[in-house]
Symmetry: C2
Subunit: 450 residues, 2 copies
Amino acid sequence: MTHALSTDLYQLTMMAGYVQTGLTALATFELFVRRLPPHRKYLVCAGLSDAIEYLEGLRFTSEEIAYLRGVPELGGAPASFFDDYLPNFRFTGDVNAMPEGTVAFDDEPLVQVTAPMPEAQLVETALLSMVSFQTSVASRASRVVRAAAGRPVIEFGARRAHGPESGALAARAAYLAGCVATSNLEAGRRWDIPVSGTMAHSWVLAHASETDAFTSFASLYGERAVLLIDTFDTLAAVDRIIAAGLRPSAVRLDSGDLADLARVVRARLDRSGLQETRIFGSGDLDEHRIRELIRAGVPFDGFGVGSAISAVTDLPSLSAVYKLVSIQQKSGDWRAVMKRSAGKATLPGRKQVWRITQGNVARADLIGLHGQPAPRNGRPLLVPMMKAGRRCATVESLAEARARTQASLAEMPIDVADIEGDRHYRIERSPALDALHRMATTPPNAVPEP
Amino acid sequence: MTHALSTDLYQLTMMAGYVQTGLTALATFELFVRRLPPHRKYLVCAGLSDAIEYLEGLRFTSEEIAYLRGVPELGGAPASFFDDYLPNFRFTGDVNAMPEGTVAFDDEPLVQVTAPMPEAQLVETALLSMVSFQTSVASRASRVVRAAAGRPVIEFGARRAHGPESGALAARAAYLAGCVATSNLEAGRRWDIPVSGTMAHSWVLAHASETDAFTSFASLYGERAVLLIDTFDTLAAVDRIIAAGLRPSAVRLDSGDLADLARVVRARLDRSGLQETRIFGSGDLDEHRIRELIRAGVPFDGFGVGSAISAVTDLPSLSAVYKLVSIQQKSGDWRAVMKRSAGKATLPGRKQVWRITQGNVARADLIGLHGQPAPRNGRPLLVPMMKAGRRCATVESLAEARARTQASLAEMPIDVADIEGDRHYRIERSPALDALHRMATTPPNAVPEP
């Protein structure tokens, strides 16, 4: 499965048109998020690893081509499109992108694709769904991790994800953003992410008594056992653990007033010599609820978070788009283009984003034109990822991307990286980009890049 | 890929425990939605086809087993679990479920799994992510379709879905719920769903002029051509189409004041003899926006809807759960169980749901115990889908499921099926279920099913 058909019909319709009419010059498209809602102050890039794998492996199978031949809307495509073009199709373009884990902002290109027009067009849909979903999960997860203030956050959201595959991808993005583990075995196997788990209510219900359930689990898993204590009555369950002389590594609370219960549970455990038994919280948690618990000094040692991360409940769809910004002319020069649609206008031209730092702190990002001189103390964020259809960077490990998230967030002003407050990071545009933008706001539709 | 590891670690931890301690009796788990938010009045069941395929094909590959052997948390599992149990694992259980397209409500079991405890436990995570996601998409799509009041709705959301696979599944659920087509080619190929598409802004930007872009597209696709007219200026684009003598089958508006623009576009097209050219609307549409446009008499002939459907933006995560409700004893009798967790208590016992109709109108649903006599005019909604691990019903086509959505909604009282208003459908519980529930609210933890 190479995802060749994981795209919109109109991409094929247009591809056939480009091929037919010879519109196969190099074109640059940029993927960016239009705008974040006010409560979200930054993005954490993710999904690029998937995107590069997709681009490298992109092929049309004969079965897929047979299907396309029968699509009525493609009836206008020339026979050579099906006979020659699609069977030989490869992605041959270049990709510049922000590496996974980079903190980014709206309007900034996260991925920049330069390829012959039909190739660059085809990949829009899959790139958007890969990059924007995984970026959206990583961005949310990083907020949850921050709220937990050093306590481990485990991603628990497979069951609430948009299908099993989406759950695995969410687990990866969550780990990349700072979660310490996932409950998802498929993600653990694929990407070597630490897996973690406790027990379910069904384990307790399946036994003759709660004490039996706990004792049996502890005898199997010993010091690794984490006991779920809210199936019937949380405090009674703690008393049963103590009475049975069990020494679980942790107990998990999943319902009720978590703050009150955790305090009493802690006291009872401590009184009984179970100071080493940690308390783990779960149940519809998000960054706000976790911050509240921690600010109130509730003695939780870690959290399990599900749908807030895996289904990105506060922002299930980023307004990510992939827009044509420049086309190479026969002369070799590039002409920048932009949509002027009401409320949906774009910025023309091939861009670069520089992060401008002072000491160890990021002060602003500058969005400018690709090729313009770098600003003082500016570090380019878009780096070459593919050349002529092959990945050009050494394959980065997930651990490296995870470290980048941490470093990239650490560099941000504290009130930008924090989950609260309305201090937003400063994004500037270079004079050259502004000038190009002004030129492109009226016809002609394409203006020369400087 | 059989999705065997698309599950939470704790399912394997518990499975190993059940196998080790001989807790392998038949158990029944039920999948249901805890509660819908007030603005959502019903569910449209979807995802069962995927779920049955998953259950039938469930196997652990040797690579997956090798991975599991190395998971530290499974260190307490006996060697026979990896050597014998997992390599020979098959799902051997029974499944009763509401067929896809059935209108359902919170608290009603949508899927009921009866299998040896370890098997029934393992499948929780994947079943939840398959059924709750697809049900969530179908439920939203049916609202959008209703708002469109007979005008075609095309699902456009692949790019906003939670990954490419999620996009394909969303397209299927949207079609099941009444959308007439999808832009998603992979969904078209897999499930023979009609595909549809227009053109992108990049097509227009790639040409020397908008007129060139339109003329070129029309010459390729003739009467099928749908022209996107908002790249620069919507009204100027219409004038260009008219001036060039083109006769597109439709034009698409994607930005600006859709109501005002559509009226003027309609008038200009009509004045120029293009009465046959339809007007198609898109751009962050949902059921409320579409209803507003239609109530105001705006002359749209159809709509393209993206993230509202594919990412279920108003309800990205259903509170769907899968809970143990009964366990068979050595005697052959069943003992019902329930969680009593604060705010998360469940209903005990194996259930059936009957839809009670009067004439052609559904008056109420009765949730009762499996095996109790059917109420007068009551039709059981949970029907056998698998017996002993094999599907027992003839495989239902997507077209049949799609027809069921329509019939099932048509049977609902109008103000329940409608997207507005707060009239909720009546859900009753049988006296036998109520009695069992009362018995189970205090210890002992398991009570005999009547």
